[in-house]
């Protein structure tokens, strides 16, 4: 015969199992415990002894694995990196991570070797930038996309689509007669890697391309990947410094080795390795990108507001050179990145906070700057006629304007508690294909449109 105390200790034990799972927060555990107690009460009422009732009730609740997997699907922001979406039992995890490691090494080696293939045909990084520039993404990103697609067990049609996109990119970079000094060469060099990055995104979300949550995961992935790349790059600089220093001490200058092999091969491999690190969550940096956005959102908001005040005091629009115009475009992209990452890191159920208001200030000031930049570009186009560069800048600013304007409207709704956070989130995930489409448009349509100038 069990006493109430024994029953309580069983609940406590069950509770401990529950709390070991990172998918479940304390409030979820409370909710589920209440559920279990309801179930036990009913069974006791039906005539079972307390300990029997407990066993039956736990059994009815089903396996904790299944339960946490469902929670993980809904709350992917809590542990997006550990998502057990492949549905493997615990025992398979170890062999899985070993296979991941091998696949990563193969892909990283592939990327490192790819970048040296043109050298077989007598090209080198220093003298053939007009070849390497637009092709850079094509050497490396297919390997990263391949690794992700392999890891997800991507369906065949998707692999076909990926292959098609990379071939399309290769055609745009090499079949078009882009002049060595042309604007379209520069545009392709900038936009093709971005366009291909969205192909990587496609392989990342391969199980559910339409799911907003998976797209949000890809935004997180991009942020973490970037941070890992920077860290690996820093380590690389230290390695190069030591290689140089030590070999010089014995009278050998390893300039060719470092410049021709270590840097290009290392950087290509790092792209894949960083992707693997994010996937395998060997977390030296646990979700560092969201932390950085928390730090920099207020600072950027302040900076932008100060700039706007200065523009107002000066009374003149921004009348500047082309290079500075590009700087403003980059600034807007950084603001958008900050916005995306803070969205990806936010607790979707949390009430609006001061940070959301700050974010609104950031978006609104970016919007104002975007309008100023747009006016300037339109002015230049009407003064000097259009060119590939100006058309690309115009398009990018219009796309950003639309995104920021609606984001500002939704964030305002969030701050005033009129709209749920999900609206802000789903606007950004829905908008991702627009960026991808634009990048591909610049790569595929701009060169012929501006007769490869």
């Amino acid at each position: 015969m069990s006493t109430p105390d024994e029953l309580e200790s069983q609940f406590a034990q069950w509770r401990q199992y529950l709390q070991k799972r990172p998918e479940l927060r304390k409030a979820d555990a409370d909710e589920l415990e209440d559920h279990l107690r309801g179930s036990v009460d009913e069974l006791v009422g039906a005539g079972l002894r307390a300990d029997e009732a407990f066993l039956v009730a736990v059994k009815r609740m089903g396996s904790l694995d299944d339960l946490s997997r469902e929670f993980a699907r809904e709350h992917s922001e809590r542990l997006w990196k550990q998502l057990v979406l492949t549905g493997e039992p615990d025992g398979a995890v170890a062999s899985r991570s070993r296979r991941d490691l091998i696949a990563m090494i193969v892909c990283a080696a592939g990327a490192a070797l790819s970048i040296k293939v043109p050298a077989l045909f007598g090209m080198d990084l220093e003298h053939d930038m007009s070849f390497y520039g637009p092709n850079l993404g094509l050497f490396v990103l297919p390997w990263l996309a391949g690794f992700l697609a392999w890891r997800r067990g991507a369906p065949k049609p998707l692999i076909g689509a990926l292959a098609g996109l990379f071939v399309l990119g290769a055609v745009a970079a090499n079949v078009f007669p882009l002049g060595d000094q042309s604007q379209t060469l520069v545009l392709t060099t900038i936009h093709l890697p971005i366009a291909l990055w969205f192909a990587v995104g496609l392989s990342y979300v391969s199980d559910e391309p339409r799911s907003p949550r998976r797209r949000m995961d890809f935004i997180r992935f991009t942020g973490e990947w970037f941070v890992y790349c920077v860290l690996i790059g820093l380590g690389g600089i230290v390695l190069i410094a030591f290689t140089f220093g030590t070999f010089k001490a014995i009278g050998i200058v390893p300039e060719t080795f470092v410049g021709q092999w270590l840097v290009p091969c290392g950087a290509s491999a790092a792209v894949v390795v960083a992707g693997w690190l994010v996937e395998a969550k060997q977390s030296v940096v646990e979700n560092i990108a969201p932390v950085l956005t928390r730090l920099f959102t207020p600072l950027f908001a302040l900076g932008l507001l100060a700039f706007l005040v200065a523009v107002g005091v000066n009374g003149a629009g921004i009348d500047i050179e082309r290079d500075a115009l590009i700087l403003f475009d980059l600034l807007l992209v950084v603001v958008l990145a900050l916005l995306l990452y803070s969205i990806s890191a936010r607790d979707p159920l949390g009430p609006p906070t001061l940070f959301d208001t700050l974010q609104l200030a950031l978006v609104v000031s970016a919007l104002a700057i975007d309008v100023l930049v747009l006016l300037e570009i339109v002015g230049r186009i009407s003064d000097f006629g259009t060119s590939a560069n100006k058309a690309a800048a115009l398009g990018e600013n219009v796309i950003l304007l639309a995104n920021l304007a609606w984001a500002a409207w939704l964030t305002l709704g969030l701050v005033r508690r009129r709209k749920p956070f999900a609206a802000v989130e789903s606007w950004q995930t829905t908008y991702l294909p627009v960026f991808a489409a634009w990048a591909w448009l610049v790569v595929l349509v701009f060169p012929p449109l501006f007769s490869f100038q």
């Binding site: 309801g38 089903g62 469902e70 749920p420 956070f421």
Partner: protein
């Protein structure tokens, strides 16, 4: 007979919103009510119900709060919001279309399903 997983998943949202539109409720009670109304044919798991409730909350269709009703444990109660009611109305409209269509197909002239059912009876 058990209802297939796809059908359960598709009908879960309007059922939960409908129950909450009657009165505020909590997880276990919702599960019991579904079980009763379907005479045990709809057997929802906790892994279906709680993530669904949390998703509806994220979308702003329901709100939750921990409440202590006299004589009971502290519980997480859910209540439907205005957007939740709008969503429910929309889902009802869609379900009505589906059900009407099925009815017409199944009770039309020369209905095969009816013949089989008749044969069994």
């Amino acid at each position: 007979m058990k209802v297939t997983k796809d059908l359960v998943a598709a009908s879960a949202t309007p059922m939960v919103l409908g129950i909450l539109a009657e009165e505020d409720s909590y997880g276990y009670a919702i599960l019991r009510r579904i079980n009763e109304l379907s005479a045990g044919e709809l057997d929802w798991t906790e892994g279906l119900l709680y993530p669904l409730l949390h998703r509806l909350e994220r979308l702003g269709h329901v709100k939750s709060s921990w409440q202590s009703v006299a004589g009971e444990r502290r519980r997480k109660y859910y209540s439907v919001t205005d957007t939740g009611l709008a969503e429910l109305a929309e889902q009802r409209r869609q379900w009505a279309t589906v059900v009407d269509t099925l009815k017409q197909i199944w009770t039309g002239p020369g209905d095969a399903g009816l013949a089989i059912a008749g044969g069994l009876a």
